[in-house]
Amino acid sequence: MDALRPYIAAFNSRFLLMMQYRAAALAGFFTQCWFGAVHVMVLAAFYLGAPEAAAASPITLSQAVTYTWLAQGLLAVMPWNGDPEVAAGVRTGSISYDRLRPVDAYALWYVRAAGWMTARLVPRVALMILAAGIALPLIGQGQWAWQPPSSLSAALLFALSETLAIALACAIVMLINIIVVATLNARGINILMQPIVIIFTGNLLPLALYPDVVRVALFLQPFAGTLDIPNRIYFGNLTGQMAWAGIGLQIFWTVLFIVLGRFWLGRVMSRLEVQGG
């Protein structure tokens, strides 16, 4: 237990610190309600406007609506950008102090990123469930609501897959962090990540709705594991072997990125230059 103490403490401290920012969570929630509503309306226009194509669609309108609310509620799990604390540390030079801690450098940053991510996730997902899962049906708009999981087994598999989504997203955030340290600049890589993440996670459009020719490739690429795979498990679009295949992919990408990140961080740190002072 003592071996894990530093990492648990670093996670908790980051989590508790981030939970203080209630205004940011509230602002994020309202933005996500807005985007969610827009997405739902666009999907409704497509599905209702072309009933034949909609009938052939691999996911139903109601599933696509649930997908949208999941995507908005789980927005914090998207690896949009590196950990701002690392970026600030690079700018101010305080990452020197991280090198002075008697802990594994990769693991320390990884758990901090996890604390940062989950602390933003919890309030937003709770508010989104209240709004889209409970309030919408209560005002008679149940058809546009966030539906419960398709079954108990889907719910359990989703819990596992969403945990893996967070692990994978943190591993991707770590790769971004390392690029930030190597280039001494967070803006470039963060801007580059935005469109990639929006498209390849399924946030813009559920990956199942893309043309058949690219669907397999979209399923196999790493960003699917941060949103699309757990979502499809949630509403029963991926079941049985396909669900386990998705979970297997999530594990594969997570392990690969962690191994890659550890190796790369070691190299970047050995070339680290801390100037001035």
Partner: protein, 330 residues
Amino acid sequence: MPQILVQDLAKTYRVAERDPGMLGAVRGLVRRRWRTVEALKDVSFSLERGELLGFIGPNGAGKSTTIKILSGILRPDGGRVEIEGLVPYADRIKHVARIGVVFGQRTQLWWDLPVIDGFDLLRDIYRVDPQRYKATRDELVAMLRLEKLLDQPVRQLSLGQRMRAEIAAALLHEPSILFLDEPTIGLDAPSKLAVREFVKKLNQERGVTVLLTTHDMHDIEALAQRVIVIGHGQVLADSPFETLRANVLAERRLFVDFAGDAPALDLPGAEVRNRDGRSLELAFDPRVTSAPALIAAITARHAVEDIHVEQPAIEEVIAKFYDLHGANEA
């Protein structure tokens, strides 16, 4: 076996250069020019357990680079470092558990966290036994007078308060060596005194080895038994501070206020440095002529209202030393 052994340390940086202005920026996109800066050329010294060493030198001399290598943050390009039998950059995790480091220009405490939460987090990161941590923390809090600051977020502290908290933070895991990189920078006089007093106590009573860099010569005078002067990445001198002072500048100053206008004086071994109405400032070398002899010679011939002797300020000693070695900032 010394506690800290440094041999032939060398470190170079590569700095991207570009011509000024828009055109230079565009050219820099296509072809980047690199300039190599030799931060350290050939630095060697050793330190015994319990010593208090002051590191001085102009900006860019290599002081901070040396500290960063000794603390395991940077990897040198050449030479060897061994601290308590470990190579800092190779055995980083083991090494850093035994040292404490304070960078005066950076903060290791968490800006938005109360001081005490930051301390608790460090306790877990260094895996300090909770009982032992409590005793160490309470002692540091008392010595550095932090009682009233503990539940304040770090961002609300004054620089002096923050520096005291930073020093406590660096010692919670009871390191045997403390590196202080410009710990008094920007502090007011009482805060500087508090820091000096604490460091001295820590060194004398706990036997903690201290390696300190500073631009404040009063820090050195108050603290360091031994001084290393570094310039252009090389050790220029390594000696007790008094030896340094005696060797480099034995000169004394004699300030005389006359009853009337200051006269023209021609005294062997003394030289007029400044003349202002009825006042004169004379420089003399006590190895050539003594202060009493000089004063006797002046008062014998002129009516004098006031007279006093000064040692040159330590800053001057050092500035002169840098000049002598051509070590001023490039």
